[in-house]
């Protein structure tokens, strides 16, 4: 295959090499967090973590483990850089997004280190494209300080049920209110729009509810504009976990299966809207 005709010297200088037989296994999951132009890449032995942030209130992370890649070599403990995610996605889908079965784009992603561009070798049907994308100094992602010990309420739902609700959400509402409680209404999504308000209630014994661990009544509001991008991740996922901590911070974790059935994770962290505190 053409990609392997690189000289050994070239290969030696890369501090990170990641290859996929199907580039969609990377591009699909990156689309789920592509609400902003810039993404911070952080590669470790475990795999790749890509972070996108918005206005210091929202953070999305995509995790692609090392074993998803057909080849994954990393020569340092941690490799970090920042790239334009829109450009990266355009390159990954450079052969068009066709889903003709049996035809897929192969990818080899290589990085020389600080100051070097991110190099992508993409091949489909014998045609090879080389893309070099400029990298920037990686910003430090915000630490939302969301740890399991502080979690007050947690539910795990099958995504299908939430997909319906999110597709119907009243967009004229500025906030999405999430109520979680050990008693009725258990788990409720509420909007307050121009025509009136709407509530979506998921009881704890619903068969869509895989896990229900709520310790106290909590109502938090989040800006709709911040949460709207998470719908992309929801669309790809089969399960989602919704957690809030004592400060009202929201963590949404999506379990995504890629084309080959392998599991990746996407998570969103969101700050509550300041006007309404915890009840």
């Amino acid at each position: 295959m053409p990609l392997s005709t690189q000289s050994q010297a070239d290969i030696d200088q890369y501090i990170l090499i990641a290859s996929l037989d199907n580039a969609r296994n990377l591009s699909n999951i990156l689309k789920a967090i592509s609400f902003k132009d810039h993404a911070i890449f952080n590669a470790t032995q475990n795999g790749l973590k890509v972070t996108v942030e918005d206005s210091k209130c929202l953070q999305a992370n995509a995790f692609i483990q090392a074993d998803i890649f057909q080849e994954y070599t990393i020569k340092e403990d941690a490799v970090g850089f920042q790239v334009n995610l829109t450009v990266l996605l355009d390159c990954l889908t450079i052969f068009g997004g066709s889903t003709v079965p049996g035809v897929c784009t192969a990818l080899r992603m290589c990085y020389n280190g600080y100051g070097y561009p991110l190099t992508l070798f993409l091949e489909e049907g014998g045609v090879v494209t080389v893309c070099k994308i400029n990298t920037q100094e990686p910003e430090e992602p915000i630490d939302f300080d969301f740890c399991s010990t502080n979690v007050t309420n947690k539910v795990i739902l099958q995504s299908d049920s939430l997909k319906e609700a999110f597709s119907e959400l009243d967009m004229t509402s500025e906030v999405l209110q999430i109520t979680m409680s050990p008693s009725h209404p258990y788990f409720r999504l509420s909007t307050f729009g121009n025509s009136g308000n709407a509530h979506y209630d998921y009881p704890k014994d619903s068969d869509m509810m895989e896990l229900f661990q709520c310790t106290k009544l909590q109502t938090n509001r989040y800006k709709m504009s911040l949460l709207k991008p998470s719908t992309k991740a929801l669309a790809l996922s089969c399960k989602v976990s919704v957690r809030t901590d004592s400060r009202g911070f929201l963590s949404l974790q999506y379990l995504v299966r890629n084309d080959d059935g392998q599991i990746c994770f996407v998570e969103y962290y969101c700050c509550p809207d300041e006007e309404v505190g915890e009840e």
């Binding site: 049920s161 609700a165 119907e168 025509s195 009136g196 509530h199 209630d201 009881p203 619903s206 068969d207």
Partner: protein
């Protein structure tokens, strides 16, 4: 008012809302003893639709849950844009929605649509409403000389030949045939686009009655909603009409519901219908006080309001014992000199329904709706009566609406 719709009924209700949304942006909910009337009228008052659901349609129907006898069921007006999304994706909804509860909560001014879905999920929508007078048009369909009745599929097959953008069509009838064709304004102008004409033999219809050869022109767009509703349920459609200028009504009926669309038709400048005597012209007429449909006018041009006096009962115009169609028909055709002042509600009912002469210019006119896009009428537009009661004022003051 509180009602519960189950299973397939939700889909039917959703389709009714879709059909109504083709006509206007507002929906009037009127909970009556006999059932729930959901009505709409377009802004120029040239199209009116009413879907009337009998208690059989519902799993439960309580028009007025308030135990106080004095408290009437609240009539309210909703924005279609708010209601339509709740019934969107109807086919999907049919699979996942088990039950829909609609409640009108008077003290909060909210209509609550609550959907109980599979997996125990509940979706509750609280919509604000405007309280208003009932909207109602009375149309003596059984006095129409021409009646066509056919399966909805036939009408659907006919209408599909007209492009969606086609506004007006002309339906003409004679003892030999029925024709539906594209309507275009000037006879001699070059034909723009495609014109279509379909002719049908009377045998094609399940029921064919021609009392008077005529050709009526009406807006097809507003009818499509009802036709697609009828086609979904395979219901027959009846069409009642008279001569040009008189409204045309389309009705779909089954045990559980009744849907009407009444459309105004263009006046034909060649024969002003006035001097013809209408059937029932010579009937002696009595109107019981409770049935009075009083008419008053509003300040604005082209708008006329009708107040329903207390005790209004008529949900369907046909065969109602309190509504005497003969009078209305006769009065509608009677023409008086322009400038006649229309009565205030306190005047005797008989004088309520007069229509001044309108000049013989080609314009959309409806005897029922009184909305005239007139070029030549000087200052008379405000005097035209309307039998459609649509009160849009913010203060809802019961039947005092008309007092200006």
């Amino acid at each position: 008012m509180k009602c519960i719709i189950e299973g397939n009924g939700i889909k039917v209700f959703g389709k009714a809302v879709h059909a109504l949304s083709r006509i206007s942006e507002e929906i009037w909910l009127d909970p009556l003893e006999e059932g729930l009337a959901v009505r709409t009228v377009n802004s120029s008052q040239s199209a009116y639709a009413c879907f009337f659901f009998t208690p059989l349609f519902f799993q439960q129907y309580i028009p007025d849950p308030d135990t106080q006898k004095d408290c009437e069921a609240v009539k309210c007006k909703l924005n279609t844009k708010c209601v339509l999304p709740l019934f969107r994706c109807v086919s999907w909804r049919e699979r996942s929605v088990d039950r829909c509860e609609i409640t009108i909560k008077n003290p909060d001014s909210r209509v609550i649509f609550q959907f109980h879905c599979r997996h125990g999920i509940t979706k509750t929508h609280n919509l604000g409403y405007q309280e208003c007078e009932a909207l109602q048009a009375v149309f003596p369909a059984h006095l129409c000389p021409n009646v066509l009745k056919s399966h909805s599929k036939l009408l659907g097959d006919i209408v599909v030949h007209f492009p969606i953008s086609q506004e007006e069509v002309t339906l003409s009838i004679s003892s030999l045939k029925v024709a539906l064709k594209t309507f275009y304004e000037e006879e001699n102008s070059c034909i723009k686009g495609m014109n279509t004409e379909l002719m049908l033999h009377p045998d094609e219809f399940d029921y064919f009655q021609v009392g008077e050869d005529s050709a009526v022109t009406f807006c097809l767009k507003e009818l499509r909603g009802l036709l697609s509703f009828a086609e979904s349920y395979g219901l027959p459609v009846s069409c009642h009409f008279g001569v040009a200028g008189q409204p045309v009504s389309f009705t779909v009926k089954d045990m559980m519901l009744e849907a009407h669309v009444v459309l105004s038709t263009l006046t034909d400048p060649d024969h002003e219908s006035p001097s013809q005597s209408a059937p029932g012209d010579d009937c002696s007429v009595t109107i019981s006080k409770t049935s009075t449909v009083e008419i008053s006018t509003s300040e604005g041009p082209m708008e006329a309001e009708v107040c329903i006096a207390d005790g209004e009962r008529v949900a369907s115009s046909q065969g109602s014992e309190v509504f005497h169609p003969a009078l209305h028909m006769r009065k509608m055709i009677q023409l008086h000199a322009p400038g006649e002042i229309l009565p205030r509600p306190s005047l005797a009912p008989e004088s309520a329904l007069t229509t001044p002469i309108t000049p013989a210019t080609f314009k959309i006119r409806s005897l029922l709706f009184g909305a005239v896009l007139s070029d030549g009428v000087d200052g008379n537009t405000a005097d035209l009566p309307s039998l459609v009661c649509g009160s849009d004022t913010e203060e809802d003051g019961g039947s005092e609406e008309g007092h200006r």
